[in-house]
Symmetry: C2
Subunit: 252 residues, 2 copies
DNA sequence: AAGTGGTCTAGACCACTAG
DNA sequence: TAGTGGTCTAGACCACTTC
């Protein structure tokens, strides 16, 4: 049987499953389906888009691989939420000597509003002097300060965010972005350098000035590679390390 | 039509495409198909394994995602080779200020045989005192030394490797492993720390003692997560950075 | 024109989850 | 038992490469 192009997805030129994927992406980015929500069943989606179920599956496969969706056999397909264990550590790469990831304890030492400086504007794709919120956190592992985070986010994306709300969260920061503002962090882009501790940086991390620290400049991105957060971290790697793995899982 | 389990792939319990994938993996790991070789066509594989072509495609999809295979439309499916541009930089993460990756210039300053110390034995999964080859390289970017690599590989895996062969290569080290010894590096596992330059380390990198350096401990793995190389790198990040991105590519 | 991988369909059955 | 995603099949047609 021939396959006339379905009406529900007009613009041609790219594969049908890409069209479907784009439509699903749109729905999530717009908040039509929120974190934790179940999507319509695959057969329902196939009917709605006028394509075969296999085509829907291929689109969903891509979004699952990307981390935007989550399948649960026998139940349904869900918008990934940053509060489950699996995603909790997806963007947290500091491990102890034994290689284990521990839950960090967060202390917010600064929360202020200001205007983007050159670095922040460039990283966040904002005009210079756009309003931003700046947060400084100290993260401790086993009651010892290990990470100093300086976070900058566009104020326009986080209306009404206060220090109380921010420090009151009982979850990761990305979960806060997601649950309260519908912003799903999907990708991060990081640049790492070695630097020397100095000034309040050294003081907050309780290391001597001149001690080596790992500096991480991270931009967090949501759908369509839109930047939502710029974060400058310094890590005391005396007892911890940044762990990274390249290439996919094996089985064989 | 029902689907009786095909005879060519007896052991049940896991999906057919996993079986197919395992068989293909085996073929590559054993060297039956070497880097750059074309696999049989998908329909030929389907016939050989007694499965539908869609099942073969799913298995091949996984290996392509893993980086072991490479499709070229209209031509065939090939065993990925470390000498093409795409893979060349897959495991090289040092970028300049502008974010660009440059081709490093390699100078080998040491090549010797010895026996595994504790760290090497643990990283490579070898018994203590197993024979290893140790290589020290200085990598320069724009004629300035930036990276100091100390590489340890199990001598048993690289029979007949000499300094001449090693330095005579006109490609990446991983390409040498692959082309001469049939070892495909598929995955790396890295731990990063900030350290202070000292001794010959500082001298070779032309930095002052006490300068901050990025230390990378990398284990390179081949099929079945078998370790093939342990590498201790120190990077002068004054003018360069380690770049890392988490989460897949977008389109939408 | 022939052969390859790339897309898409339609439908069967299995495995898991819930009421 | 009913409904979900997971696997598998068989075959059509498209896009690209090569001769």
């Amino acid at each position: 049987m021939p396959s006339p192009r379905p009406a529900a997805l007009s613009p041609p030129g790219r594969p049908l499953y890409e069209e479907v994927r784009a439509h699903l992406t749109e729905g999530i980015a717009e908040g039509r389906w929120k974190a934790g929500d179940a999507l319509p069943t695959e057969s329902a989606l196939a009917a709605r888009f006028g394509v075969a179920i296999g085509t829907v599956r291929k689109a969903v496969d891509a979004l699952v691989a990307q981390g935007a969706l989550l399948r649960r056999q026998g139940k349904g397909t869900y918008v990934a939420a940053h509060d489950d264990r699996r995603l909790m550590f997806h963007f947290f790469h500091i491990v102890g000597a034994g290689g284990e990831k521990a839950q960090p304890e967060v202390r917010t030492v600064r929360f202020e509003r200001g205007r983007a400086d050159a670095a922040e504007a460039a990283a966040l794709g904002l005009p210079r002097d756009e309003r931003v919120i700046r947060i400084r956190n100290v993260l401790s592992l086993a009651s010892r300060p290990v990470i100093l985070d300086d976070i900058a986010i566009p104020a326009a994306l986080f209306p009404g965010l206060t220090e109380r709300i921010f420090t009151g969260r009982d979850n990761t920061i990305y979960h806060l972005y997601q649950s309260r503002y519908g912003i799903n962090v999907l990708r991060t882009d990081e640049h790492l350098r070695a630097v020397l501790a100095a000034g309040d940086m050294a003081q907050l991390l309780q290391v001597a000035p001149g001690a080596p620290l790992l500096e991480i400049r991270r931009v967090a991105l949501t759908f369509r590679d839109r930047p939502v957060e710029y974060r400058l971290s310094r890590v005391n790697t005396a007892a911890h390390a940044y762990h990274n793995t390249f290439g996919k899982g094996e089985a064989a």
